[in-house]
């Protein structure tokens, strides 16, 4: 019996693919093992610690099994509850502001032909500034007695505001600082997205007599939805992890007005040295961030499918 030439080739190819795959796994496995060791092992350690109480005696750690007590305590921790609620408000409000401003700036910037490099450099400036410097800048700007913001208001005859010290304005002030800081990130992604859109669709819309608004709502926006979803997902996860701005500007106060979950975690784990409880809180936070990421990714998939 003769074997067709095509089948011969397929078999030969299949055998070599199998060898190739084995070889790929063999060469890849040390790196994979190292990565798993570095990323999974700390998480496993954190998970184990979350079921323990850890104290110190004679210079050594004394670990006692505590079961789920730390997780039960989470439910009764008012600071954690306030932190979670504020984090959600902070993350969604700040990211929404950054998305709108970032998209607006990207649209404007994409239309500019002269001096576009200068505009873009100015727009991305805040993202280049280290967090600690941003804290210093805005602590000075929002200072009740000497801050530029209140001095500006005084010129307009408006009474000074306690931006960071009043419960009504403190969280809003931190959100505004975060918007100022991270809008350039959205701007850059949106600009890249806009510049990669096919121009023939826009030309067709213009030939059909579409106005600028119609072009934006019916052409630009649908085409840029995947970029919007990815940017939103990235920023939401990053915003959920906010720490430096709160730590530097308000330390979570006044009261719990600007308490965010990362700051609660910092207090419980590091300041109070409650390693077991802090580990349980860390696991809970990781779970929530992962959940957000999954939701955002499935939203992206749905957007891509539609």
């Amino acid at each position: 019996m003769t074997v067709p030439a095509g089948l011969k080739m397929a078999r030969k190819h299949g055998a070599s693919f199998g060898d190739d795959r084995l070889w790929r796994w063999l060469t890849f496995s040390p790196a994979l093992g190292l990565m798993l060791l570095l990323s999974v092992l700390p998480l496993v350690n954190l998970l184990i610690s979350s079921f323990q109480d850890i104290s110190w005696a004679d210079g050594s750690a004394v670990r006692t099994f505590a079961g789920l007590s730390s997780y039960h305590a989470l439910a009764a921790d008012t600071l954690f509850a306030a932190g979670l609620a504020n984090t959600f408000i902070f993350a969604f409000a700040a990211v929404a502001g950054q998305m709108v401003l970032g998209l607006g700036l990207a649209l404007l910037s994409s239309k500019v032909t002269r001096g576009r490099v200068l505009y873009r450099a100015i727009f991305i400036l805040p993202i280049l500034i280290p967090g600690i410097v941003i804290g210093a800048i805005w602590k000075l700007m929002l200072n009740y007695d000497f801050g530029l913001v209140n001095q500006g208001l005084a010129l307009l005859g408006i009474m000074p505001q306690d931006w960071l010290g009043a419960p009504e304005t403190a969280l809003l002030s931190v959100i505004m600082v975060d918007i100022w800081h991270w809008t350039p990130f959205c701007f850059l992604l949106f600009l890249a997205g806009l510049e990669s859109l096919p121009q023939d669709v826009f030309e067709a819309a213009r030939i059909d007599g579409a106005s600028a608004w119609q072009e934006f709502f019916h052409v630009t926006l649908p085409l840029i939805i995947p970029t919007i979803v990815v940017t939103f997902a990235f920023r939401l996860v990053l915003a959920f992890k906010v720490f430096d701005e709160v730590y530097l500007l308000t330390s979570g106060g006044p009261g719990t007005a600007t308490e965010v979950v990362s700051f609660t975690l910092y207090q419980r784990f590091f300041t109070e040295d409650r390693i077991g409880y802090g580990s349980a809180m860390s696991i809970a936070v990781i779970f929530i961030v992962s959940l957000l990421l999954v939701i955002a990714l499935s939203a992206r998939r749905q957007a891509a499918a539609s």
Binding site: W56, P167, G253
Partner: protein, 447 residues
């Protein structure tokens, strides 16, 4: 003509001997002990400590390296170092908020275990006996072992504008009623506030500011820590009086953003002339008369924090202690002991005072320096120090401080009433003490 150099055997041996002597020779002041590293925080008194250390290096030839950090960073570095197999830091500069954690955890060695001949100078302030630790009783009492040497005897003092007082013909307030009356008198916002308080939430911020009010009213957090009774007394009528007084002062004669004021902003208010009074840790004294930082040079006076009639001043200890880490080599422990032995001398403490620091040696306060105008804070401080309150005598203090920081700040910000804050904090502190199996109880909630 080229001259040939010829060396005899004797010349060679003599040259080698000279070279050996040259490399091995050390001046008489050169290091006699191993170099040490001190982990310390960046506080207003740090510069004086640095200068004192430099003097020690110059006098002894021994080397000292300083690892300088922010307040919270210093604690974290100390924890990381003492929990490692071998520590990085030989001397830990420990704050009143965490020294018991280091004692009880076995992270610092008793000084007399390192060197049985080491004795604390009898004129060194023992600051509520916090230099001792009794491991059996798990508390700081004079019958325990000597664990540390005080570095800075910090307590809050009342800073007031002497020039305004002189104009008004007033004397320094001794009671809370006098302070309130004087604060109201000088309250001219926004140009000047009667008093500026440190009401922000932080690692140990508003709680530390509140202690002189609480203890000066006859209140407290626990019934009797020294005897092991950790019954929570925060929500007593005196506690309520103290918190309501603090809030009234803030609202009616204080800064409108008291709930957000931290230490730096309070000091800033004083040196810019925006405050008539502040209650601030004494370490900030040198900034008041520094013409580069202050608009009120020579106008500030100091007094012990006020109290109720019949009660003594009661500032909370916010002092710093130097202990030697357990997990460092023995030669470095001995070097650290040598440094502490020198540091507690009257001469070293006098140098500290002249460098802008707060001496821990009582003898310095009776030296002529205490009569100089520049050091006019010394006598009020010496008067107040014997009454300083050691607020925490157990290692889990940081959890109680966190409860106080949040509860007090919420009350000052107006989120909750003083009564709700006190009852809530008392509940939480009681839960903390119960969790760690201390003998504890609670008062009836305030209504």
């Amino acid at each position: 003509m080229k001259k040939e150099l010829k060396l005899s055997r004797r010349h060679v041996i003599a040259g080698m001997a000279a070279a050996t002597a040259g490399t091995a020779w050390r001046p008489v002041w050169a290091a006699s002990v191993a170099p040490i590293t001190i982990v310390i925080n960046q506080s207003p008194w740090f510069e004086s400590f640095r200068k004192t250390v430099e003097l020690y290096e110059a006098e002894s030839g021994n080397q000292v390296e300083l690892d300088v950090n922010p307040f919270a960073g210093s604690l974290e570095k100390q924890r990381n170092s003492v929990r490692a197999k071998q520590g990085q830091y030989d001397i830990l500069i420990m704050n009143s908020g965490w020294f018991t954690e280091m004692y009880a955890g076995g992270f610092v060695d008793p000084l007399t275990d390192i060197d049985p001949s080491f004795k604390l100078d009898p004129e060194i302030f023992t600051l509520g006996d916090t230099v001792y630790y009794n491991a059996d009783k798990k508390t700081v009492t004079a019958d325990g072992k000597l664990m540390s040497v005080p570095v800075s005897p910090l307590i809050p003092m009342l800073y007031y504008r002497g020039d305004l007082y002189a104009e008004a013909g007033l004397k320094a307030p001794r009671t809370f009623a006098e302070l309130e009356a004087n604060a109201r008198r000088f309250h001219e916002p926004p140009a000047r506030y009667g008093i500026v308080q440190r009401g922000a939430r932080g690692p140990h911020t508003v709680a530390y500011d509140f202690y002189p009010y609480l203890y000066g009213q006859g209140g407290g957090i626990f019934k009797d820590q020294s005897s092991g009774d950790y019954s929570v007394t925060l929500n007593s009528p005196q506690g309520r009086e103290a918190l309501e007084y603090y809030i009234r002062l803030a609202r009616e004669a204080g800064h409108p953003k008291t709930a957000a004021m931290d230490q730096a902003e309070v000091i800033q208010s004083m040196v810019t002339g925006h405050a008539a009074h502040i209650m601030m840790v004494i370490a900030a004294w040198s900034q008041m008369d520094d013409p580069n930082k202050s608009a009120i040079v020579d106008k500030v006076e100091w007094a012990p924090t006020p109290s109720m009639p019949g009660l003594p001043t009661a500032p909370g200890l916010g002092h710093w202690l130097a202990g030697i880490a357990r997990n460092v080599p023995d030669d470095r422990k001995r070097s650290a002991i040598e440094f502490l032995r020198w540091f507690q001398t009257k001469q070293a403490q006098l140098a500290t005072a002249k460098a802008g620091g707060i001496p821990v040696h009582a003898g310095v306060y009776s030296e002529p320096i205490a009569d100089e105008r520049k050091y006019r804070w010394m006598k009020p401080l010496a008067e107040a120090l014997p009454h300083a309150v050691n607020v925490y005598q157990f290692p889990e203090a940081s959890e109680v401080i966190a409860v106080l920081e949040l509860g007090l700040n919420r009350a000052i910000a107006g989120e909750i009433t003083a009564v709700d804050a006190l009852n809530g904090m008392a509940d939480e502190i009681h839960a903390v003490m119960e969790k760690y199996k201390y003998k504890t109880a609670q008062l009836e909630p305030l209504r």
